[in-house]
């Protein structure tokens, strides 16, 4: 089967690739573009380790075909930090030990940022439900939830 030509924007950079029609966006990111920060935990949309944003919408990259994102803008974990500055969520996750093995972390961070982008002041329950699609087997979620709430509180503080 012939490959499909795709032009997209990944983490702000215009990019072009030829894509096998059967390959998912996750395959393309990891195997073609070398962006291995997004992880494959299940390949079926159940774990959230592959979370990315497509035109700002939180999506499982394993459920989207690489050929589907032509003309769209993709955000991955690799685009979260700005230059040499970690995103406040990234900083807080390290400070508050919100990761153990860290394999869920890229997906959790992308999802948490998507949450704060649309709801800068979420309640604990809102954070828990928003992140319910991101499995973490190590932490019991406690420190993850606290870190997200803490960043939200800091943001409110600076906004004042």
């Amino acid at each position: 089967m012939s490959k499909i030509h795709v032009s997209a924007v990944v983490n702000g950079e215009p990019i072009e690739y030829l894509c096998d029609p059967a390959h998912t966006l996750l395959d393309v990111l990891r195997d073609q573009l070398g962006l291995t920060g997004s992880k494959e935990g299940c390949g079926s949309g159940d774990c959230g380790a592959c979370s990315v944003t497509i035109d700002g919408r939180l999506t499982c990259a394993c459920l989207v075909l690489g050929a589907e994102v032509d003309g769209m803008s993709i955000g991955t974990i690799e685009g979260l930090a700005q230059g040499d500055q970690l995103h406040p969520l990234q900083k807080k996750f390290v400070e508050m030990a919100a990761l153990q093995c860290g394999v869920c972390t890229p997906g959790v961070l992308v999802a948490a940022k998507a949450l704060l982008d649309r709801n800068p002041d979420p309640s604990e329950t809102e954070v828990r439900y928003w992140l319910a699609g991101n499995l973490c087997r190590c932490t019991g979620y406690d420190k993850i939830i606290r870190a997200v709430l803490d960043v939200a509180a800091d943001m409110k503080e600076t906004a004042r």
Partner: protein, 759 residues
């Protein structure tokens, strides 16, 4: 041990691998690639039990793009004998058969052949072209069925061990073990109350989010390089060396960052296949399991059938305890029934105990270690029965445990006497906790349970290298699953008296540091920590010798304080203190680089105890259990990095909550696993849980310089019984089978409702 004042230990610095892990830079098992690599895929048995009559790979091998195919014929036969492989005691006959089925496929998902091809698509197509002729045999899934005399037999050579005289007919019961203390007959005769209960647990998976993955590169000169996600790269080397007949020095294993293991990544599945495929193809081979393969072919821990009988006096003294534990081992012998039997009553100081355990094979994947292997299973039975006893006697469940608690000097039923342990302190802390003293929300109920794990030490090698500027690299050989690098660097900084950020910890490959046992048994911070402390002490000793030489004084006339060598007293003379940086700068002139190293078999890992308290609410219509509040109390020895200790306590509790309420392997009539995915094998998600409160009790381990005890295993031991007891107290219905999933619980509530209504 006198209470030592720490500077670094007990603080909460950022972990050294933090930035890499929050930016996506960290490279896990599936993130390693090599030029020209092939993709490997495994053909798995569609039958639970079948003789493999023939395998024809010719059509697959002929497919363009296929570069190698392997079957059991590519792996030498191994002796039916327990041998050390990377320090683990394993039966290589069984390991080689688990890695690749030989005469029989023993479970649905058992590897039968593997291919390496230029693309994943070609590899998958090739699998379809492998012709396997199976003769399907009757299968057996559950423990009690497997123990029946007419059960289908998995292995004709197994004669139950531990029964005298040794039986002469084949059985699925591989082993019987027993432990005893005192005289249970006498004990029960003196009991005023006796209760006997039966329990079951379903097999559950470790559930690490990262699937097994590796990349093997075998060169033409016989040297092998392997990147893999594992809890023990030295064990991987040992296994591959034995299974493939390659000398250990020819295999170099690099431990990738590991995305969770919980015991499930202490064995090999893909690695020997990838190496053999790479050898045959002459190209690097990468293999990654799908989630479905992870469920079908790796890990889980045992399902079980258990019986517990307790006798007590009315005032709450337990006078006799008797239990039977039958554990499903999967397709090959080796369930954790041994540790389960030992842990069962380890929390209690009882005069009369009898425990019997059975290791039973059945047509399921071979079990792998799962966090405190076996202990949570026997604790489910024992702690639930203790709670029922507390209800029966009308005694507070913590008080009943305090009345019978193990303490320093208690002789366990498996032999040893405890030295300094912290169970009583944990029970008292739980009792005094804000949670335990808080009133219950109407309709809610509270459960309590205790748990024990031995903790282990074992072989560890470490080194400390001082750089030219006086900063230090500490090198160890255990994959870091949950922040151990930070803890090791902290101990090095503490010992040296320098800031944490002057120490960089790294995890070396199998060729760059001496042997290390697996990351498991809660050993790394304890045992590796000890090796790191020793290697740093060597550095300090060397610094003192150099300074003494420079000052032309006796070596014992100098001391090490806060990262500097100083004269021991003014009598020695007045010399400017020499910092690590100064000594490092002149190291070449004073005798060469300053390094230290240590290799030990760490002994005396202090036992760990924990007590969990949980409040639940039960929706009686649906059987849905809501965890309202959860507190985990644990004796952690000394918390090196308290955040990561809390993390262990919280993560273990969450896994236990999943085990209690939802997780289980479900098989269909044909012995096929029905729920091999995260959608149907339901692990806790963020919205299922409340915050998990932690209370760290610190009873230092007297055999470690900083008092470290392992902390990773204990937290998964108490949750199931704590939750079951809370449910029993909320509904009046005591569940004895796990999981207490909504359908099961609502069925049990329905069945009990006429009875409860009548009461």
């Amino acid at each position: 041990m006198s209470a030592r004042q720490f500077k670094v230990v007990g603080t909460r610095p950022n972990r050294p691998d933090g930035a890499d892990k929050v930016t996506g830079r960290a490279r896990f098992g599936a993130d390693w690639n090599m030029p020209g690599q092939l993709t490997g895929r495994v053909l798995r048995s569609p039958h639970a039990h079948a003789v493999i009559e023939s395998i024809d790979v010719s059509r697959a091998a002929a497919l363009p793009g296929v570069k190698a195919v392997v079957t059991a014929a590519d792996f030498g036969e191994q002796e039916n004998r327990i041998v050390p492989a990377g320090e683990m005691q394993v039966n290589l006959r069984d390991v080689t058969r688990n890695v690749m089925a030989r005469e029989k496929a023993l479970y649905h998902g058992h590897a039968v052949a593997a291919v390496a091809a230029t693309s994943d698509a070609i590899a998958r197509d090739a699998l379809k072209l492998i012709d396997v002729r199976y003769r399907v045999l009757p299968h057996v899934i559950d423990v009690d069925d497997a123990m029946k005399p007419d059960a289908p037999i998995l292995h004709d050579h197994i004669r139950t061990e531990g029964v005298e005289p040794r039986p002469t007919v084949a059985s699925n019961v591989a082993k019987r073990i027993d432990f005893a203390k005192g005289d249970v007959g006498k004990g029960f005769a003196a009991a005023e109350v006796t209760i006997e209960r039966r329990f079951r647990t379903a097999p559950v998976h470790q559930g690490y989010i990262e699937p097994h993955a590796c990349l093997a590169s075998a060169a033409e000169d016989g040297q092998v390089q392997l990147w893999t996600t594992t809890q023990g790269h030295f064990q991987v080397r040992g296994f591959c060396s034995r299974l493939l007949g390659i000398e250990t020095s020819q295999i170099r294993v690099m431990a990738a960052e590991i995305g969770g293991g919980f015991g499930g990544k202490t064995v090999v599945y893909l690695e020997p296949l990838a190496i053999r495929l790479s050898q045959k193809a002459g190209k690097p081979v990468k293999m990654v399991m799908t989630r479905e393969e992870v469920f079908r072919a790796s890990g889980p821990t045992s399902g079980s059938v258990m019986r517990v009988k307790l006798g007590a006096t009315r005032d709450g003294r337990i006078v006799a305890a008797d239990a039977t534990f039958a554990f499903q081992a999967g397709a090959f012998p080796g369930s954790p029934v041994g540790p389960a039997s030992m842990c069962s009553f380890a929390c209690y100081d009882l005069d009369n105990i009898k425990v019997e355990g059975f290791d039973v094979v059945s047509n399921r994947p071979k079990v792998a270690a799962y966090r405190a292997p076996g202990a949570p299973i026997s604790a489910w039975a024992v702690e639930s029965t203790i709670d029922e006893l507390a209800q029966e006697l009308g005694i507070d469940p913590i008080d009943l445990r305090l009345r019978n608690a193990a303490r320093e000097g208690t002789k366990t039923h498996y032999g040893p006497v405890f030295n300094r342990i912290g169970l009583v302190e944990c029970l008292e802390a739980a009792k005094a906790s804000a949670h335990y003293r808080s009133p219950l929300k109407p309709g809610a109920a509270r459960g309590v349970a205790a748990g024990f794990w031995f903790n282990v030490g074992a072989d560890s090698s470490a080194a400390a290298h001082v750089g030219e500027d006086g900063t230090v690299t500490v090198i160890s050989g255990n994959p870091d699953i949950g922040g151990s690098r930070a803890a090791l660097a902290m101990m090095a900084a503490e010992e040296l008296g320098i800031p944490y950020d002057k120490v960089r910890p790294i995890i070396a490959d199998t060729a760059s540091i001496g042997f290390n046992f697996v990351t498991g048994g809660s050993r790394v911070t304890f045992a590796n920590g000890l090796a790191i402390i020793n290697s740093v002490r060597e550095v300090i000793g060397e610094c003192k010798r150099r300074a003494a030489k420079l000052w032309e004084v006796e070596p014992d006339a100098v001391v090490w304080e806060n990262g500097e060598v100083k004269p021991a007293s003014t009598n020695v003379g007045t010399f400017e203190p020499l910092s690590l940086a100064k000594l490092a700068a002149s190291a070449g002139k004073t005798g060469g680089p300053i390094n230290g190293h240590s290799q030990i078999n760490a002994q005396g890992a202090g036992p760990g105890f924990g007590v969990h308290v949980v409040d639940v609410e039960v929706d009686k219509e649906t059987g849905i259990v809501t965890i309202l509040r959860y507190t985990s109390v644990q004796d952690v020895g000394t918390a090196i990095h308290p955040s990561y200790v809390e993390g262990q306590m919280q993560g273990g509790a969450a896994q236990g909550i999943g085990w209690a309420l939802n997780e289980e392997y479900i098989y269909d009539r044909n012995g096929k696993l029905d729920n091999a995915g995260f959608l149907d094998y339901r692990m806790p998600v963020a919205s299922d849980l409340p915050m998990i409160e932690t209370i760290m009790v610190e009873v230092p381990n007297p055999t470690h310089p900083y008092g470290v005890r392992g902390v990773g295993e204990v937290p998964i031991v108490p949750p199931m019984a704590a939750i079951g007891s809370a449910i029993a107290r909320a509904t009046g219905v005591r569940m004895r089978d796990l999981p207490m999933s909504p359908p099961r619980l609502s069925a049990a509530l329905d069945a009990a409702s006429p009875r409860l209504a009548a009461e």
